[in-house]
């Protein structure tokens, strides 16, 4: 079964429910249909095509106006821009060529010679496939800039909110979900800090998830997660509602040579608790460390490791992640101020998802998406359905923004 035609269509629904619906037609082309195939493709992809065309024209103008020898800084910027647009120009040329070929092929579909008809039909099929691939994949991938955070690892902080020990129990459950997800994605997850609660749950936890795409994937999990279920400890069978909060921070490469995020002079390092005479007089473990970044007021306390050195390393890692997070948020805000940006940032105090055990249902409030897959989310790899949907939704918003801008 081959997809002959992929139609790209934008259906504006509620803010988060824009979707590209991808339809495929598999019917043998009849004459009346074939005539309109190109029109159909161009009509569906009109906005993308217009955007691509504008960019290609921009490139051609630049090429026409540029001189042979590059001397001024403007020349260099111009040359860089031309180079940037090169792949798009090539994709556009390919689109034009295929389009022309398709026009020439269509009359041959009704040729008197059956061999010719068969050849034409094959050609037709592959041309349609190429054209729709250009529209649905090549152009969008060249227009949507690659994620600047794709190489970043993630720091996932989970904190229990309302609901007492039941919230802690659920936090323990979600922690397992994320550890499993990391495993499936071939990321390396390590629990940095974990405070167990008396009732067998986990009050809070920090997990470091290392690997390409870890931050880009997990960042969608930031926000308040709500659970509705009958706690194991509830004798009367009443449904309780409790919440936990997830914060996902970007983790920059630890041994980045020069730290652009902060200067050491701005960080106050304190050890916790007094230690009397210290040294040989005391052998109690005192490894807790607190950092204060003066310019931002961010403080990080770390006490989970047995040595000060390790806690200090961890604390700096978290500080770096918080500062990187601020920087990314700031970058996004600047971008939004510059151009009308439709891409939404996560509001960490907003409720993003509800896990309803009674109805076996998980609802993502940002997507307006409910799936009856609670067991697969909690026990298998169902989480990826939500993360993938968020990612798709994001890419579409970016695409739309780009199209509207041009």
């Amino acid at each position: 079964m081959q997809t002959l035609l992929r139609r790209i269509k934008q259906v504006p629904l509620r803010p988060y429910t824009r979707v590209y619906s991808v339809a495929s037609t598999r019917s043998i082309p009849s004459r009346s249909k074939t005539l309109s195939v190109i029109d159909q493709l161009e009509q569906d992809g009109a906005r993308i095509l217009r955007t691509v065309q504008t960019r290609v024209e921009e490139r051609d103008d630049l090429v026409a106006s540029s001189l042979d020898d590059i001397s001024s800084p403007e020349d260099i910027t111009r040359a860089k821009r031309v180079k940037e647009l090169e792949p798009l120009k090539m994709a556009w040329d390919e689109w034009q060529t295929n389009r022309q070929l398709l026009r020439e092929t269509i009359p041959l579909l009704n040729d008197l010679d059956p061999t010719m008809r068969a050849l034409a039909s094959d050609e037709y099929t592959s041309l349609i496939a190429s054209l729709s691939h250009s529209l649905s994949r090549t152009f969008p991938s060249l227009l949507v800039p690659p994620s600047p955070t794709i190489h970043m690892s993630a720091l996932l902080e989970l904190k229990s909110g309302v609901g007492g020990s039941e919230a802690s129990l659920f936090l323990g459950d979600l922690l397992r979900v994320y550890l499993r997800y990391a495993q499936v994605m071939k990321w390396k997850a390590e629990i940095v800090e974990k405070n167990e609660s008396d009732g067998g749950g986990v009050r809070d936890a920090i997990v470091e998830v290392k690997g390409v795409g870890a931050y880009d994937g997990l960042k969608w999990e930031s926000g308040v997660h709500r659970v509705q279920r009958v706690p194991a400890t509830e004798s009367k069978g009443r449904v309780h509602t409790s919440t936990i909060t997830a914060v996902v921070l970007p983790l920059a490469e630890e041994d980045a040579p020069e730290d652009e995020l902060f200067s050491m002079d701005d960080v106050r390092v304190e050890v916790m608790r007094a230690r009397g005479a210290g040294g040989q007089h005391v052998n109690k473990t005192e490894s807790a460390v607190r950092l204060t970044h003066r310019p931002s007021g961010i403080t990080v306390s770390m006490q989970d490791e047995r040595s000060q050195h390790q806690n200090r390393r961890r604390a700096f890692q978290i500080l770096r992640a918080r500062l990187m997070d601020r920087k990314l948020t700031q970058d996004l805000a600047n971008r939004r101020a510059e151009r009308r940006d439709l891409v939404q940032t996560a509001d960490r105090s907003a409720k993003i998802r509800t896990y309803n055990y009674v109805q076996e249902r998980v609802t993502d409030h940002r997507l307006g998406l409910s799936l009856m897959n609670l067991t697969t989310v909690m026990e298998e790899d169902g989480l990826h359905e939500f993360i993938d949907a968020m990612q798709r939704n994001h890419d579409e918003s970016v695409m739309e923004e780009i199209i509207q801008d041009s």
């Binding site: 007094a274 040989q280 005391v282 052998n283 047995r306 050195h309």
Partner: protein, 291 residues
């Protein structure tokens, strides 16, 4: 479940002796160290007063994870802090190597950290201790960290050789294997009258020889016997190299820095001295240089 009840009781007792927060943390660490034995036993030993580091059998020291074994002194965070600082201060290379002598080496933590952090093939270290158990532990730790005890012509590596000797012996300086660029030491520095006030986890478990600054056979009550001996040692010709990196780095007890500084200047002929603070703000290290 009577057994669990028992663990809970033990935990409560621990909470009373070291505070809720510390007890929680230590419980976590015990749970993680499943290799070290069953939780109940660990808690029992801890409530008895045994140091956590002996129960778990290891102690992190910078990026290293060292073995701990009673009664050899457990590496302290103050020592970890200055050893890292020293490692960052001097950065020997194959072309500009350094020789190191660590007096009273104990677990070997100080020279092992330097050997680990400094470039391969840049460091030749020796360690001296009076206790053969300590020398054995230092050797075991070196093996654990992948630092050989003898130089091999076949591959570049830093080398650390711990050996048995008495630093206080008048003839100690005669038998040194070579001359040195850096001499480090965290010698015993606790006063006898303070010793009796020490927490049980220190007094009852760690070797008194590792702690007492005035060994029984030496007159003195200021806990500075080792500093006098070290100062006399470094004043001898041929012990310290002439070089701009040459230095003596000594950990000191609370309020001993000024006295040790004076000893290094007068008896050690080290004119340039410096005091380093520990993370708690105490004067913890005296550094002496010839010029």
């Amino acid at each position: 479940m009577p057994r669990q009840h028992h663990v809970a009781q033990l935990f409560l007792a621990l909470t009373k002796s070291i505070g809720r927060q510390s007890a929680n943390q230590e419980l976590n660490w015990m749970k993680r160290a499943t290799h070290a034995g069953c939780l109940k036993e660990m808690l029992e030993r801890r409530v008895e007063g045994e140091p956590l580091q002996y129960i778990l059998g290891t102690q992190p020291f910078g990026p290293l994870d060292l073995l701990t074994r009673a009664p050899i002194l457990i590496p302290r965070p103050e020592t970890e802090h200055w050893a890292i600082r020293l490692a960052e201060l001097l950065q020997p290379t194959i072309e500009r190597p350094l020789s190191v002598l660590d007096l009273c080496t104990g677990s070997g933590c100080i020279p092992l950290l330097l050997c680990h952090l400094w470039a391969r093939g840049s460091t030749r270290a020796y360690g001296v201790d009076i206790s053969d158990h300590a020398v054995q532990l230092a050797k075991d730790n070196a093996a654990r960290c992948g630092i050989p005890g003898v130089a091999s012509p076949h591959h570049f590596s830093n080398v650390y050789t711990p050996y048995l000797a008495n630093v206080l012996d008048a003839t100690f300086g005669d038998s040194l294997p070579r001359s040195f660029d850096v001499i480090t030491s965290n010698p015993p520095y606790i006063l006898l009258n303070e010793y009796h006030q020490l927490p049980r986890s220190v007094k009852d478990y760690e070797d008194p020889r590792a702690l007492l600054g005035d060994p029984p056979d030496i007159p003195g009550t200021d806990g500075l016997a080792f500093y006098h001996a070290i100062a006399r040692l470094v004043a001898r010709d041929g012990v310290l190299n002439e070089g701009d990196q040459t230095m003596v780095v000594l950990e000191v007890g609370d309020k001993q820095a000024a006295a040790v500084e004076a000893i290094l200047k007068t008896e050690g002929r080290l004119n340039r001295t410096e005091i380093w603070l520990d993370p708690w703000g105490k004067e913890r290290v005296v550094v002496g240089r010839r010029k």
